[in-house]
């Protein structure tokens, strides 16, 4: 197990190197003069800048260096905690991102809870009553959940629960430690909207996993042993299909982090993803790079943990 953890950690390194490289190269995709872009000017501002000022900018940004040197300088800065200065707020990018990070994590974690609470009972019902009404209902829910884009689902839910019924706020945030009740009221809609698609995906996966398990020889053997049916459903079929689903749950966390961009914008949720979008609208490139890097690194880390968890839980791969 320790061996595996170590080798898995080592595998993360090349992946993270390429991730940082992609994030770094994003900048060179931006059309226009990179000097102006990185300094936060529009193309029309070139006239207002004297040649001395321009050269100073080039020098300050290090753009007179070859690109691989710049990459390593940038990477070194990232490691030292110097993620640049946000062009809009003039504050360090890392500080800005860290202040927003908890909100994103709360949202993703709540959405994961929604996912699990919906997917587990639905998939068990669907598999137990295959091709009967509970199965059809769960599967209709699942395919709809996959097909309805989360921003439209969000709009409809806001329309119904905020505007029409007035039960839940449509926008805003409250700190979970200062105002826990307010926090709960604010997070319900975003968490449901964010979790719906993942719940649908997981329901489908768990159901087909359970059906596959139920067709295995060892389930027939369990019946031949005379074990109670509930025991066979849970201890045999569900448990084994959940183990197989752990990796899928890990991938769904990626969907949640990516989907949070839309949900945070829609519900005015002050997280990293909302900050990323604000950065995009105001062409604040250091902030964009930082936010993308934070989200990607979070996902890589979560996947690493999920993978180790899977190795820990599944006896078939535990010792190899």
């Amino acid at each position: 197990m320790l061996n595996y953890a170590a080798s898995r950690l080592l595998q993360v390194i090349p992946v993270m190197v390429i991730v940082t490289l992609i994030v770094f190269l994003l900048m060179s995709l931006v059309p226009g003069d990179p000097v102006l872009v990185l300094a936060g000017f529009g193309p029309e501002d070139r006239q207002g800048i004297s040649q001395e000022q321009y050269d100073a900018l080039v020098n300050r940004l290090g753009l007179d260096q070859p690109i691989h040197v710049r990459y390593f300088q940038w990477l070194g800065n990232i490691f030292r905690g110097d993620w640049g200065i946000s062009l809009t707020s003039q504050r360090p990018v890392l500080t800005e991102l860290l202040s927003r990070y908890p909100a994103t994590i709360y949202l993703a974690a709540s959405a994961m809870l929604v996912t699990l609470f919906m997917a587990i009972p639905l998939s068990i019902l669907a598999a137990r009553f295959q091709n009967k009404i509970p199965d059809y209902s769960a599967m209709s829910f699942a395919v709809l959940g996959l097909s309805i884009p989360n921003f439209w689902l969000g709009l409809i839910l806001i329309l119904v629960f905020s505007l029409h019924l007035g039960w839940l706020p449509s926008i805003g945030y409250a700190d979970p430690f200062d105002q826990p009740l307010e926090f709960l009221r604010h997070i319900i809609l975003p968490a449901v909207v964010l979790g719906a698609a993942s719940a649908a995906q997981l329901t489908r996966y768990l159901r087909s996993g359970m059906l596959e398990q139920l067709g295995e020889d060892y389930i027939r053997m369990a019946y031949a042993k005379g074990l109670p049916e509930l025991l066979i459903m849970f201890k045999y079929a569900f448990r084994n299909s959940l183990i197989a689903a752990i990796t899928v749950i890990g991938l769904e966390i990626g969907q949640l982090l990516g989907g949070s961009t839309i949900v945070e914008v829609l519900f005015g949720w002050p997280g990293v993803a909302k900050m990323l979008l604000d950065g995009i609208y105001s062409r604040d490139f250091p902030l964009i790079q930082g936010a993308v890097l934070v989200l990607a690194a979070t996902y890589v880390l979560v996947n690493l943990l999920v993978d180790l968890l899977y190795r820990w839980i599944d006896p078939r791969v535990r010792f190899s």
């Binding site: 992946v15 900048m27 990626g254 993308v292």
Partner: protein, 289 residues
């Protein structure tokens, strides 16, 4: 026995269509997808009004006989915008899917056939692309490149590329170890013939399913990007962008938020149902019954 009789041969295809026809949900999928393609193709002839004609006098009207889906805050006919939105969604998704598949599939095949360091290099690159959560890479790419058709194509296809590469690679690796590929080698076949005649035909099924379902996700990502204001500039009739602008007046004209979203959801639903149906068709378990 059943598992061994995989979807095969001419009679295999005939049987496949039989299975598809028995699956009612898949037929719904075929219907929705056809409707989408038909609307996209004939948009200029189908739409009752110009999609971007502003008529302030009829602004914010609820659905009526003149405007079946009502009008928006500028008096534009929502039905016409929905019809033209299909065309945008079609162009974006076809381009993105083709681009992603034509690069991703050969890459995956190469990776699985060559194995060794080629495989390692390609797969680490794909891992890195997959390390970006969900739609984040597409958003970052569009943010850097700016909006417009070309950057949407690139952004969406880059984020679906690893999916294709992985499916193609897995199919290739699975086929490579089959006895009939060894048997082909023993007969004296060249690498080209082995790949094109022995291996490729057996990877078509999983790839077709992936391709169909990818249409759904391409349309979903494209509309998400437009919803965030990263797609096409106004007044392009785009479902995602229209939903975004309908957000502000939602209390007074809910129809502007409902109809484009419905069109979008039904289109995605169509591709998902079709993909599910095809997965069932290619599932060898359906063959021995």
């Amino acid at each position: 026995m059943a598992a061994r009789r995989a979807a095969t041969g001419a009679s295999g295809w005939a049987r496949a269509f039989g299975v598809l026809a028995r699956n009612r949900l898949a037929l719904v999928g075929v219907g929705l997808v056809s409707l989408f393609v038909f609307t996209a193709g004939l948009a200029p002839w189908l739409s009752p009004y110009e999609p971007d004609r502003i008529t302030i006098t009829v602004a914010m009207q609820p659905p009526s006989l003149d405007h079946w889906m009502g009008t928006d805050h500028l008096g534009r006919d929502i039905l016409s915008r929905v019809i033209h939105g299909a065309r945008i969604a079609f162009v974006v998704s076809v381009g993105a899917v083709l681009l992603g598949a034509t690069i991703g599939i050969p890459l995956g095949f190469l990776s699985g056939y060559a194995r060794g360091w080629v495989d390692h290099a390609v797969m680490r690159l794909m891992d890195a692309l997959l390390a970006f959560p969900g739609r984040l890479l597409a958003i970052a790419l569009v943010a850097a490149m700016g909006g417009g058709l070309l950057s949407l194509w690139i952004a969406i296809s880059v984020s679906s590329l690893p999916k294709y590469a992985r499916i193609a690679r897995a199919a290739m690796l699975e086929q490579r170890e089959r006895d009939y590929v060894y048997a082909g080698q023993v007969v004296g076949e060249s690498h080209t013939v082995l790949v094109s005649r022995y291996i490729f035909p057996n990877t078509v099924a999983p790839l077709t399913v992936a391709l169909t379902i990818d249409f759904a996700s391409a349309i979903l990502i494209a509309s998400s990007l437009s919803f965030l204001g990263l797609g096409f500039p106004p007044p392009t009739p785009d479902w995602g962008a229209d939903l975004s602008s309908a957000m502000d007046g939602m209390e007074f004209m809910p129809w502007a938020a409902i109809f484009p979203g419905m069109a979008l959801s039904l289109t995605i639903l169509g591709f998902n149902l079709l993909g599910d149906g095809m997965r069932d068709v290619f599932d060898p378990r359906h063959y021995d019954q």
